[in-house]
Amino acid sequence: MSEDKLKTDEKPLKPTESSGWSALKALAEGFATTAKHLARKPITESYPEVKRQLPERSRARIVLTHDPDGRERCVACYLCSAVCPVSCISMQSAEQPNGRRYARWFRINFGRCIYCGLCEEACPTSAIQLTPDFENIQRDILTLVFEKKDLLVEGCGKDPSYNYYEHAGVTTDQRGKGEHASETPPVNVKSNLP
């Protein structure tokens, strides 16, 4: 078994390949390649002068987005803070008078954040999202502690359509029982008719 593996890994060299001459040739090729590079224009882009448009999915500053109807998406379910490997997210959930669960306060310590993106993956409402804005630097580390007002942004971010409370099944001022996506009207428990 192990011998088979070794065999598949190591192909026998052709006589020409193993000769001293071919070794020298390979060396010479290497030196030629690097020497040719000297004449090429460097591919480096100098950062502050040239700012590249980063891909949408690149992971930097974290934001909290809004539902398509303009309400806060975050329901303060604590999944992001639970999954955060450096424990940089903390919040306090509470209930709004309209029945929606929300974050009374929400705090991300960017001094600690490692931008791993697990919070975004864990978020069941698409509220917390990482943006390509990586230029988030402060002189005083305490100013890197962002409160909810610093995190909230207008619009839906990367997910333009998802509205958690359309699917949740809990009563809010917008939707009652049986009015959410794929729900039948509430059962009349006083009737035994099928």
Partner: protein, 811 residues
């Protein structure tokens, strides 16, 4: 003892055990929703399916429905069984809403766990979901019926286990609905348990609604301090705020449940008005300075007036540690006390109960449920110790019989015999019972059939006597002990179970070398022999039954040193106020009414909650290493600092003092060998000598005359116990205070039902509405020691009120 094989491992279990329980003993957790050790099997959820490969039963079966039999071979990992369970999970999840993020159960949800464990990650069902309307079940329990998986745990618990009828099951098929017939507050004082037993989020805890996830909570084993039963619980705290209590199973004490008083009574620990600042005569100071001041004041008083001029008072909610230090201080320095009760009668009652509780008679709360016939004397289980009522319900469920001899209109959630006896006649009845049981009955002809009861108790395979200590006198308490002993002589097995007043009343009774109550201490203050009082976790303002006398006497003191964690008007007036830590911050040991020593861990570090330190919209943005408002000490630490010269700051010296105090506390109490379920202290080592003689005829006490009424100030389930009465949650469910009287008594005193009555004592009045209760004994008036009433005018909790003192309001 059948022997069976589960997953290739053999186990022998008693006959009648279900396969699911046998597996649990092997450490194999078969999935379950409907099965609950306290509620038994019903076979509703189908998720505990396992494969029986050989033996008397074959094929896929529900492990909760099959009794173990010899030779069974069970596989929990059989491919077919696993596939079966996976499908069960999937169909249970068909209609389950998509609301885990906003569900409080998320994180400790059995359905969530088993869905993940069953590998059901993606819903295949694309059809419409059935929905249900929710009900408002009151301030304790939140209802969200969409999440239901029809395990029937709630209705079985509510109707079968606790005996209440207002929550049950309706509808058919997939439209089965669990709730009340109409929205409304749940009647059961055990309703909070619904949140524990519901395997998903249909019933969630309303006071902690939308507050946090279990994984974020600081959770530690703790104890309930709201009555003497010592129920075990798990306390959760977050951001220095106690958030939730859950029942901690202890099969020796509370089983799997808690009453609502214990479950929701925690608010005092995080109350906004909790005193956190040490003060000298109302002026804030550092705790070290105040301790020094208090210590110097004690020294000066001792030098000037002798050691006896320093008195110490504490209450039965203090930990064993605190009591031990106080006892040691009094013995070493010759101080007066410690007084652990308010009145002499209470002190005598507690002492008598502890002395009468012989080891061969003592039973635990759990053992009570196994009794066959129970006689309750002078106790109102639902109001004084609610979990006792749950135990009695189990007695009744298993075919036993409960008889209550009590003047109050006792209500229990099941059928029982109630003898509404006037307190002054109770002694005679118990004595007659003892004589009947011993066989030399001379059956005093009363309206109650003593002979029949005696015969019933005599014929019972396992009788138990439960006796209250709140409204009785020591004589009846001792007689209850005699009754249990008489039963023991004829039965060999008979239980005796005292309900005491206060979580640590047993230990407090053990500290009494001489009987000193607050009443005695006030006497001595008034005659000038006590000049300084140290009151430790003793809410004199609310609990002493004569507030005017208290205030007058306290003014005569040179110094009053107060150590407590609840807010009281006295705190700002006393010479030295030292804030202490409640059980959640200090932990400690408590001895419950059967003599069981149990420990509680500290749950959290103390300090201002972040609502206080940071404002509402975020925690503080200034970071410091010390917690604001966390200067409190555990009461025993503060006491060690007061009594030992060098213990003010050195924790090691405080701990050494504590160790020696605990070792000297009582030969019966050994705190060094603590067990998880708690262990009963050595009752043999408790002196049984001080029991008063109960021989001879009961002296006729003229409490039952037609011109007087006996006023009893009693406990209610909610609103009377000091700590739980501070809970804003329980305030929403507590009944408003009324005076209960028998309709005939109301009529004979010229009062009107529903109208207020004013009781006058020395120019002080208490006005309270009268309510008729035909189940009560005539000639008795019952008023709760309610926090909304200023009842502290009577000087006692059992007093005779003359006709002239009673006025129909406006007359």
């Amino acid at each position: 003892m059948p022997k069976l094989t589960i997953d290739n491992r053999e186990i022998q279990v008693p006959t009648g055990t279900k396969v699911i329980e046998a597996a649990e003993r092997l450490g194999i957790m078969i999935p379950r929703f409907c099965f609950h050790p306290a509620l038994g099997s019903v076979g509703a959820c189908r998720v505990c399916a396992v494969a029986f490969t050989e033996g008397p039963v074959k094929g896929i079966q529900m492990s909760c429905m099959i009794d173990v039999q010899d030779g069974m071979v069970v596989s929990t990992t059989d491919a077919e069984a696993v596939d079966f369970r996976r499908h069960v999970i999937e169909w249970l999840m068909l209609h389950h809403p998509h609301d885990c993020p906003v569900c409080d159960e998320g994180g400790h949800c059995l359905l969530q766990d088993l869905t993940v464990a069953g590998n059901h990650g993606i819903r295949r069902y694309r059809g419409l979901k059935r929905t249900h309307n929710n009900q408002d079940l009151g301030p304790l329990v939140q209802h969200e019926m969409n999440r239901c998986i029809q395990c029937y745990r709630c209705s079985r618990f509510y109707q079968e286990f606790t005996g209440y009828r207002d929550l049950g099951v309706m509808g058919i098929g997939s439209r089965v609905y669990f709730g009340r017939s109409v929205s409304g507050v749940l009647e059961s004082p055990f309703s909070g348990n619904l949140t524990d037993i519901c395997p998903t989020g249909v019933y969630t805890d309303k006071p902690s609604r939308y507050f946090g996830r279990r994984w974020d909570y600081q959770r530690h084993p703790s104890l309930c301090l709201h009555c003497s039963l010592g129920c075990n619980l798990t306390a959760s705290a977050r951001y220095r705020r106690v958030v939730r209590h859950e029942a901690r199973p202890n099969l020796e004490v509370n089983g799997h449940f808690l009453c609502d008083r214990g479950r929701y009574g925690y608010a005092y620990a995080s109350a906004a008005d909790r005193p956190r600042q040490a003060m000298a005569a109302g002026t804030p100071g550092t705790i070290a300075d105040i301790l020094t001041g208090a210590q110097e004041a004690i020294q000066r008083t001792v030098e000037q007036y002798g050691p006896g001029s320093v008195a110490v008072a504490t209450s039965s909610r203090s930990s064993l540690e605190t009591l031990a230090l106080l006892k040691q201080a009094c013995e070493q320095h010759g101080w007066t006390g410690p007084a652990t009760t308010q009145t002499d009668r209470q002190a005598l009652n507690q002492r008598t109960a502890v002395n009468c509780l012989r080891p061969e008679l003592a039973v635990s709360l759990a053992a009570d449920t196994e009794a066959h016939d129970v006689l309750v004397i002078g106790a109102d289980p639902l109001n004084e110790a609610p979990m006792l009522a749950l135990s009695l319900r189990q007695v009744q469920r298993s075919g036993g019989h409960v008889t209550v001899i009590d003047p109050r209109g006792v209500r229990l959630p099941f059928d029982f015999d109630h003898w509404a006896v006037h307190p002054s006649a109770m002694g005679a009845i118990v004595q007659a019972l003892i004589q009947e049981i011993a066989g030399d009955g001379t059956a005093a002809s009363t309206e109650f059939d003593v002979t029949r009861l005696a015969r019933q108790l005599n014929a019972s395979p396992r009788p138990s006597v439960i006796c209250g200590t709140d409204i009785l006198t020591s004589r009846e308490i001792a007689l209850a002990g005699d009754l249990a002993q008489a039963l023991c002589r004829t039965h060999r097995v008979a239980g005796l179970f005292y309900v005491l007043t206060g979580a640590n009343a047993f230990a407090a009774a053990l500290t009494q070398s001489e009987r000193v109550s607050m009443e005695t201490v006030l006497d001595r203050i008034e005659n000038g022999s006590v000049r300084l009082l140290v009151a430790v976790e003793q809410d004199l303002w609310r609990e002493f039954p004569d507030r005017k006398r208290l205030q007058k006497a306290l003014k005569r003191l040179d110094h009053l040193v107060l150590l407590d964690y609840v807010n009281s008007p006295l705190n700002h007036e006393v010479s030295y106020f030292i804030p202490t830590q409640p059980i959640y911050e200090s932990g400690g040991h408590w001895i419950n009414q059967e003599g069981r020593l149990q420990g509680a861990s500290a749950v959290m570090a103390g300090g201002d909650t972040i609502e206080v330190t940071g404002g509402l919209d975020h925690p503080p943005r200034v970071f410091e290493s010390h917690i604001p408002g966390s200067e409190q000490l555990a009461a025993w630490r503060a006491l060690a600092a007061l009594t030992e010269d060098h213990a003010k700051t050195v924790k090691a010296i405080q701990e050494e003092t504590l160790r020696s105090a605990l070792a000297d506390f009582h030969p019966a109490v050994d705190t060094t060998s603590a067990q998880p379920t708690g262990q009963r202290i050595d009752l043999n080592a408790v002196s049984h000598a001080g029991v008063e003689s109960t021989e001879g005829p009961v002296p006729v006490v003229n409490e039952a005359s037609s011109d007087t009424v006996l006023l009893l100030l009693v406990d209610w389930t909610f609103g009377t116990e000091t700590l739980s009465a501070m809970s804003p949650t329980l305030e929403k469910v507590e009944a408003s205070p009324v005076a209960h009287m028998h309709p005939d008594t109301i009529a004979s005193f010229g009062l009107a039902e529903g109208k207020p009555v004013t009781i006058s004592v020395d120019a002080r009045q208490l006005t309270v509405p009268v309510q008729a209760d035909p189940r009560m004994a005539p000639g008795v008036m019952v008023i709760p020691r309610h926090h909304l009433l200023e009842w502290q005018i009577f000087g006692e909790t059992r007093v005779i009120v003359k006709r002239s003192q009673l006025n129909a309001d406006g007359v």
